[in-house]
Amino acid sequence: MVKEIERAGIPVVHICTVVPISLTVGANRIVPAVAIPHPLGNPALSKEDEKALRKQLVLKALKALETEVHGQTVFDK
C-alpha cells in the first residue's frame, strides 16, 4: 500500500514496529512504532502517558512527512 500510494505521487510515512520488513518492502519514510500487538499504544502506561506517547508518534510522523529524503530513511531519533 505504501508503495502504490507513493507511486501515485503522494508521500507516505510508514509507522511500523518491524523496521527491517518495512525496509525490505521499500518504504521511504519509516517511523518505528511501539510493539507488534500495539504499534501506536502501550497498555502498560496510564491513559495520560499513553495519550502523550500516541501524540508524540503522530507528530514525529508528520515531521517525517515534511522532511525531504533521498532514499530510505528511518526516523528513529
Binding site: 518491524v18 527491517p20 520488513i21 518505528p32 511501539v34 510493539a35 500487538p37
Partner: protein, 428 residues
C-alpha cells in the same frame, strides 16, 4: 550430559481398571486420571476420550499435544518448572510411551487452534493421526479470561502426560537410545578435527497466547542462552501456543525435536554437535535486535563453524529468522534455515515477510496457504463450529455436511518448522 531414552512401543490405548502398560497396550483408569488432572476451579468440566489411528474421528480445536514420559533415573522430573521442581534435567534415564499422546481440546482458547483427523486426507498432513490419542476436552467456567484459560488447559495437559507417563516407570523399554553431549572443551578435545555445529532453536514468544516456557520461565523474558539438547527431551521446553496450528511446536514436538535427533545421528562422525542456543521471537524491534545479537555472540563465543536455525511461526518472526541468519553469517559461520511458507493459495507470492541475501540455504516445510478439503467424519471430539474462525479457516469453511474447506494452516503440525512432518519442496 548423557541421557538414555527408553522407548516403550504403545500399539493400543484403552480405558481399564488400572493405569498400566501390558503387552504394548496402554490401559488408563479414567477416574484416577481425572483426579490427577482435576482441581482447577477455572475449569468447569473435563471429558476424556480416546482417538486411534484409522478411526473416522476429527479432534478440534486442538490446543496442545504432549508425549507421556517419566524420568526413571537421574536428577529432576519431567516438565521441570511445571510438574516437577526446577532441577536440571537431561541426564540419567527417561522412559517414553512411544505411540501414545495426550491431546488437549475443547472450547476454543484464542482464535486459531488446530485440527487432527485420524483418517482421510487430513490425517496425511498431521503426525498425530498416527498416535493413540488420549483427548481431554476441557470446558472453562463462564467469562474466564483467555490467558487464564490457556494456562489452565496447558497445565491439565502436562499433568495428564505426567500421570500416564508413570505407567511406563517399571516397564522394560523395547528400544534404548543414548544421547550424549560433552562439556564444550571436552567435546572439542575429543573431536579436534570435526567442524563445530550448533542448533539455534527459535521459540515462539509473541505473547497474547503465543508463548513458550523454559523450565517454567516465559521465554519472552530470557536473553538467548545455552541448553543441553537432552534437557529438551525431558520437557525443559513446554508449549503455551494455541495459534496457527500448522507451524507451532506442540510440546510433543519439542520432546521429539528431529533437528536435535538428526544432529546427534552424525555427531562425532561428520561434525561435533556442541549444543543448542535457545532464543525468542518478541514483539518489539529492540527485543529482536538484542536477541539476534546474542545468538550471534554465543555462536562466535562457542567457536562454531555452522548452525541450523529453526523458526516457529511466521510473519514478524521471519525478521527474527533473518536477523539471526544475517548476524551469525557475518561472524563467518555458515547457516541453514528451516521455515515454512505463506506463499498464497497459488504458491506464487513471496514466501516470507522478510528476506536477506545471507539466507542462501533454506529448507521449507511447505506452503501453509494451500487449500485442502477435509471430508466429514463420523465422530467429532470437541466442536466443529470454530472451523470458520481458526487461522486458515474463513467464513463458510464449515459445510453443512460437516466437511471443511480451509487452508493447510488449520492442521496441527502440518508445516512443522523443526521438520516433525513430511512436507517440503525441492528446487532443481
Amino acid at each position: 550430559m548423557r541421557l538414555e531414552l527408553g522407548n516403550i512401543f504403545i500399539k493400543d490405548m484403552q480405558f481399564g481398571e488400572a493405569t498400566k502398560v501390558e503387552n504394548g497396550v496402554l490401559y488408563i483408569n479414567k477416574k484416577e486420571l481425572l483426579e490427577a488432572v482435576g482441581g482447577d476451579n477455572r475449569i468447569a468440566s473435563i471429558e476424556v476420550d480416546i482417538a486411534k489411528p484409522g478411526e473416522e474421528t476429527r479432534i478440534m480445536p486442538v490446543k496442545d499435544v504432549i508425549e507421556p514420559r517419566v524420568k526413571v533415573e537421574g536428577p529432576g522430573g519431567i516438565f521441570p518448572g511445571f510438574i516437577s521442581k526446577v532441577d536440571v534435567v537431561g541426564s540419567g534415564k527417561t522412559h517414553v510411551l512411544k505411540g501414545a499422546a495426550v491431546v488437549t481440546a475443547g472450547k476454543i482458547v484464542g482464535f486459531q487452534e488446530g485440527i487432527i483427523d485420524m483418517s482421510g486426507p487430513g490425517a496425511e498432513y498431521t503426525p498425530f493421526s498416527k498416535t493413540n490419542n488420549l483427548v481431554l476436552v476441557c470446558t472453562p467456567v463462564d467469562n474466564l479470561p483467555q490467558h487464564e484459560h490457556e494456562q489452565a488447559v496447558r497445565l491439565i495437559g502436562l499433568k495428564a502426560a505426567a500421570y500416564i507417563g508413570e505407567a511406563g516407570r517399571n516397564v522394560k523399554p523395547d528400544e534404548v537410545k543414548v544421547y550424549e553431549t560433552l562439556p564444550l572443551f571436552e567435546g572439542a578435545k575429543k573431536y579436534p578435527d570435526l567442524p563445530k555445529v550448533a542448533y539455534v532453536y527459535m521459540l515462539q514468544t509473541q505473547g497474547l497466547l503465543h508463548d513458550t516456557y523454559v523450565y517454567g520461565v516465559d521465554a519472552k523474558r530470557i536473553v538467548p542462552t545455552l541448553i543441553y539438547p537432552t534437557e529438551v527431551m525431558d520437557g525443559a521446553i513446554v508449549s503455551g501456543n494455541c495459534v496457527s496450528a500448522c507451524d507451532k511446536n506442540p510440546t510433543y514436538n519439542h520432546l521429539n525435536n528431529p533437528i536435535i535427533e538428526d544432529l546427534y545421528e552424525r555427531h562425532g562422525k561428520d561434525y561435533n554437535f556442541v549444543g543448542v542456543i535457545i532464543t525468542n521471537e518478541n514483539v518489539t524491534l529492540a527485543d529482536k535486535e538484542r536477541s539476534s545479537n546474542w545468538t550471534a555472540k554465543l555462536a562466535e563465543y562457542l567457536g562454531l563453524d555452522a548452525v541450523i536455525i529453526s523458526e516457529e511461526g511466521f510473519g514478524n518472526p521471519d525478521t527474527d529468522l533473518m536477523m539471526n541468519c544475517k548476524k551469525i553469517t557475518a561472524k563467518g559461520i555458515k547457516t541453514v534455515l528451516v521455515t515454512d511458507e505463506y506463499a498464497g493459495r497459488d504458491g506464487a507470492s513471496q514466501s516470507l515477510a522478510d528476506a536477506d541475501k545471507a539466507a542462501d540455504a533454506v529448507v521449507t516445510a511447505g506452503n501453509a496457504n494451500e487449500i485442502i478439503e477435509l471430508p466429514p467424519m463420523k465422530k467429532v471430539i470437541g466442536d466443529l463450529k470454530p472451523a470458520d474462525v481458526i487461522a486458515g479457516g474463513f467464513a463458510g469453511s464449515l459445510k453443512p455436511d460437516g466437511s471443511i474447506v480451509a487452508e493447510l494452516q488449520v492442521i496441527t503440525g502440518a508445516t512443522s518448522e523443526i521438520g516433525f512432518n513430511k512436507l517440503s519442496a525441492t528446487q532443481f
